[in-house]
């Protein structure tokens, strides 16, 4: 404990040496009201009325709840599209109406028609399944593997850290889309292979960030305290370091679902990782690109579908973070 205190003051001393000399001269301001800590931003009025702050929070909570509800509904809708596209889509994705090629959005075709006369709305509905499956399974694999590697390396230190991180370094040094391109070309275009390629390429980011977290947490006094109280390394990892990083993991995993869907759409955009028969949002965008200047709807709506799905996931992730980590609630 003594050494920990020493560490902290030495940090402060290195950063701002004059503080140490100033400190004894000033009376310690111990009787700060709690609100003072929250309104600590410089530039903000120092004595901002408490009510302004709290009303800001309550209105934000209400907006936040609405957003969460909207995202849940969006996810439910995308989920239904993914499970039963036939029940939602008015046309089959293979239905080509030659009299309605590149038609503007209208009552019969809400999102217009593409260059083959296919209904863009139906294509978007049928395309949901690919993205949903990619998002869920890629993150399940990459997050669990990545977190395990990262926390172990950061906490254990020593040779294990070195070996794991050198391996991760090699892995990470190959830019993700390039690695995914190489992998999905090697493995051939199928959904499983795309998911595998995306998981493999996204593992290092979890490991790297979590390792940094664990490294910076493990020197903190409370770890030292539980260690001296007789806690095992595994128990410290599970009960102290993992919860300490849970907000970080949640943020990463949430962004990870989105990222996986985005990498997946990127692969499709480059013409990899899709079966031609199955409509896919990224591939719809590739096809629409050629008609960008004459038919904005062919690229706007599939892109909007990807974006709304990923936005909903990210909003939900933020809500989960507020739920699991009350410390971060008033944001």
């Amino acid at each position: 404990m003594k050494s920990a205190v020493g560490k902290f003051s030495s940090v402060a001393a290195r950063a701002v040496p004059d503080v140490l000399f100033d400190a004894p001269a000033r009376p310690p301001s111990v009787s700060l009201p709690p609100a003072r800590r929250f309104s600590s931003a410089p530039g903000a009025p120092q004595n901002r009325p408490e009510s302004a702050l709290s009303s800001g929070w309550s209105s934000r909570v209400r907006v936040g709840d609405l957003l969460v509800l909207a995202s849940l509904l969006m996810l439910l809708f995308v989920g239904i599209c993914a499970a039963f596209p036939g029940a939602i889509a008015p046309y089959l994705p293979t239905d080509m109406q030659t009299e309605a090629i590149l038609g503007r959005p209208n009552a019969a075709h809400w999102f217009g028609t593409d260059q083959f006369g296919r209904d863009v709305f139906s294509l978007v509905v049928y395309g949901a399944r690919q993205s949903v499956l990619i998002g869920i399974f890629a993150v399940l694999i990459s997050c669990s593997v990545g977190v395990a590697i990262g926390l172990t390396a950061g906490y254990a230190g020593g040779w294990l850290d070195t070996v794991l991180m050198r391996f991760i370094d090699v892995w990470l040094s190959i830019p993700n889309i390039l690695l995914a391109i190489a992998l999905s070309t090697v493995l051939g275009p199928s959904l499983t292979n795309t998911i595998f390629a995306i998981s493999i390429t996204t593992i290092p980011r979890y490991a790297r960030v979590l390792r940094g977290q664990a490294l910076s947490v493990r020197g903190r006094p409370f770890i030292e305290a539980s260690r001296s109280a007789g806690a095992s390394h595994f128990s410290i990892l599970r009960r102290h370091i993992l919860p300490h990083c849970s907000a970080q993991i949640l943020v990463l995993a949430t962004l990870g679902v989105g990222t996986s869907i985005l990498i997946g759409s990127g692969l499709s955009f480059l013409g990899l990782g899709v079966n031609d028969e199955r409509p896919d949002w990224g591939f719809l965008l590739t096809q629409g690109r050629g008609y960008l200047t004459v038919a904005w709807w062919t690229v706007t709506f599939p892109g909007l579908a990807i974006t709304s799905l990923v936005v909903s996931i990210n909003l939900l992730g933020d809500a989960l973070r507020r739920h699991f980590d009350p410390r971060s609630a008033p944001r």
Binding site: A12, A23, R37, A41, G56, V209, S216, G219, G266, L270
Partner: protein, 312 residues
């Protein structure tokens, strides 16, 4: 300190070696037969066999690996299957374009990310913060190429200010750089904001306040600096992401560059070019992360205390 730098340097060399090996292994599992592809479908089996010997793909994997490694050490990345041009020369011609795109985009992203992150914390919970957060959320939920398409729709098709094709000169580069820069700034902004908000609740802030340090100084010197640790980690990781997205951006804007060359080469199973391009990207990544690792010691003294036992 110098010893530490040298050590990290040696380790980085090892990583590059590992990357060469990994890339080689992954790419040489490619099931396609380059010789057959180059010779054409109706070529006689003898012609294909001759070509295979010429390309060296008839040899064992180990033998190919040894000669590739020997070449890499001498700066020879092999010869393109399709154009018979040295890979190094072909890639070197494309390098400036990709470097310019990535570097400008990262500069835009860092400036935007830190500025918006700090602004968000300063105006936390108010409309400016909420606007920044909503727009960021939306932008980072878009595929980069869709963001690019939307910008093309607005600035090229509707307003006619900027060209659709992103090749040559300053004006055509604006849309690619802005697309990539905006997209990359979002995680940085989030990390700065989250890190600073977490930091404001840390006990050390109370300690600093108790010592009578000014709020402005606590905010910009201590809290911002602590938040930058995780932000720098992220920036290192994101160099890979920006190179990756450069591939997509170059394809979208039909812009010259390593990325587009790679995508073309993958279509033609031109393995030496693909290998060389990925190797180049990896080297760039390793160099940037070497710098990031060294900067840890400057930004977070806690990691310095933990990692180098001598100073404890």
């Amino acid at each position: 300190m110098i010893r530490r730098v040298l050590e990290r340097f040696a380790v980085s060399l090892g990583v590059v070696f590992g990357a060469v090996t990994l890339i080689f292994l992954v790419l040489n599992w490619l099931p396609g037969d380059s010789a057959l592809l180059i010779a054409g479908e109706d070529a006689s089996p003898e012609t294909v066999h001759q070509l295979r010997i010429k390309l060296g793909t008839d040899r064992s994997l180990g033998s190919q690996y040894r000669s590739y490694l020997a070449g890499v050490v001498q700066g020879d990345l092999g010869t393109s299957y399709t154009t018979r041009e040295p890979v190094f020369r072909r890639l070197a011609a494309q390098l400036p374009s990709t470097l310019a795109l990535t570097f400008s985009a990262c500069t835009v992203a860092v400036a935007l990310g830190i500025a918006l992150g700090v602004l968000s914390v300063l105006y936390r919970g108010r409309w400016l913060d909420q606007t920044i957060q909503s727009v960021s959320l939306f932008i980072h939920s878009m595929p980069t190429f869709w963001l690019g398409m939307l910008l093309i729709l607005v600035f090229s098709v509707q307003l006619g200010w900027l060209p659709v094709i992103g090749n040559g000169g300053l004006l055509p580069s604006v849309l690619p750089v802005v697309t990539l820069g905006i997209w990359l700034s979002v995680p940085l902004q989030r990390m700065v904001r989250d890190g600073m908000l977490d930091g404001l609740h840390e006990p050390y802030v109370t300690t600093l306040r108790a010592k009578g340090l000014g709020e402005r100084r606590i905010f910009y010197v201590h809290v911002l600096r602590n938040a930058l640790t995780s932000t720098i980690t992220l920036l290192g990781v994101m160099i890979g992401e920006s190179l990756s997205n450069a591939v997509i951006i170059e394809t979208l804007f039909a812009r010259q560059g390593i990325g587009r060359t790679t995508v073309e080469a993958i279509g033609q199973k031109d393995i030496p070019v693909v290998q060389g391009a990925i190797l180049l990207a990896s080297v760039a990544y390793v160099v940037v992360n070497l710098l990031v690792d060294l900067s840890y010691t400057l930004v977070d003294p806690r990691t310095r205390l933990v990692t180098s036992k001598g100073t404890r």
